[in-house]
């Protein structure tokens, strides 16, 4: 399954009020290409912090569902955060992990022990109350719906194809701090 297909399946199932947090790299690119209307924060660097940032946002905005779109490279950098999140267990946080077993944006180098890691086993062992794993489009379609409807903390591992994901040649017109301010203006304006 291409990552754009997986991102599209998620987009189709989101509620308009959902907030999306994107980890850095190819998952971020897959979500940008959706041009989705959902309030989105691109977490960028520091690498490994997407889940913690999403947890903090979910705790701060318990009235909104927060969906983290995460890459396996970012998550593998900091697996301990799965224990922290399971301990806090906010019912409004969902995590979808795109698994391609590579540091895609960094040049496609393999993750350590690539292909033999089960993030759902690790998450379940850390105490996550709901986990799922999708290997193809049909499974992903069904399990994205389950993830969003489960009503509690959940993690869905979605296997996607390796695809080139080169660094953008243009950094864009705004800084991360300006993007953060724009995100907050929209978030606070919607109170």
């Amino acid at each position: 399954m291409r990552r754009s297909v997986a991102a599209g399946l998620l987009r189709e199932r989101l509620d308009p009020a959902d907030i999306v947090v994107c980890g850095l790299g190819s998952t971020s690119r897959a979500w940008r290409e959706q041009n989705a209307p959902h309030l989105t924060y691109y977490a960028s660097d520091p690498m490994g912090m997407g889940p913690a940032l999403a947890l903090g946002l979910a705790l701060a905005r318990p009235e909104r569902r927060v969906v983290l779109l995460e890459g396996d490279g970012d998550l593998a950098m900091n697996l301990g955060v799965l224990i922290t999140i399971a301990g806090a267990a906010p019912a409004n946080l969902r995590v979808a992990v795109f698994i391609n077993d590579r540091y895609e944006t960094g040049g496609g180098q393999p993750l350590p022990n690539a292909g033999r890691i089960s993030y759902v086993v690790i998450a379940a062992g850390a105490g996550w109350p709901w986990t799922g794993e999708a290997h193809d489009e049909a499974q992903a379609a069904r399990l994205f719906s389950s993830l969003l409807e489960v009503g509690k903390l959940g993690l869905l591992a979605v296997h996607v194809d390796p695809e080139p994901s080169p660094y953008p040649t243009d950094p864009g017109p705004t800084s991360q701090a300006e993007d953060r301010a724009a995100f907050q203006r929209r978030l606070f304006g919607e109170r």
């Binding site: 960028s44 520091p46 912090m49 913690a52 903090g56 705790l59 701060a60 301990g80 907050q184």
Partner: protein, 178 residues
């Protein structure tokens, strides 16, 4: 302070009341023995949501996310956690520009009794200065007013601010045994 209270209990109460008064609603923590009274008091505070973390940089990330969502947050940890979190602190200070507070116990200085803590005392302040993270050192018990000032400074500067507590500032002048 009542004679039946454990060392640091009354001071922990002062610090947590200052956090609440400053509008802090989310706290993350990773323990140090000098921090036990403060973390216990935070856990007991109904106006603060307390999240225990496995690494201090996760606490930084959670505080950044809470700040992104419009809430004031604090990380409570040892100064080793500041050293561990150097990249993350710099990222949220300069790249995202998100404000939050860190209350860190200052291990490794003249009042410490453990050789393995000493290197942290040597490098903590230079590392924070190099990262461009504002910090303040609290020497004596009862100086909780700095907490509210540091929260305000963080909001104004749009970056994390660190308050480093000496042992006496947390536990009073009882002799160090841990």
């Amino acid at each position: 302070m009542s004679e039946t209270q454990a060392p640091g209990t009354a001071n922990a109460d002062r610090i947590v009341k200052a956090l609440v008064a400053a509008g802090v609603e989310i706290a993350t923590s990773l323990p140090d023995s000098w921090l036990s009274p403060l973390i216990a008091r935070i856990e007991a505070e109904p106006k603060i949501r307390h999240v225990r973390v496995t690494r201090e940089d996760d606490g930084v990330g959670i505080c950044a996310g809470a700040s992104l969502g419009g809430k004031r947050a604090v990380l409570v940890c040892q100064n080793a956690g500041l050293l561990l979190s150097a990249n993350v602190l710099a990222g949220y200070a300069h790249h995202h520009q998100l404000p939050f507070l860190i209350l860190a116990v200052y291990r490794g200085s003249h009042e410490d009794r453990f050789y393995y803590q000493m290197y942290k005392g040597l490098v903590t302040e230079p590392v924070l200065a190099a990262l461009g993270i504002p910090f303040h050192v609290v020497e004596h018990v009862g100086d909780a007013a700095i907490v509210g000032d540091a929260v305000r400074e963080s909001s104004l500067a749009r970056r994390p601010v660190v308050v480093l507590f000496r042992r006496e500032a947390l536990l009073g002048d009882v002799k160090a045994t841990s």
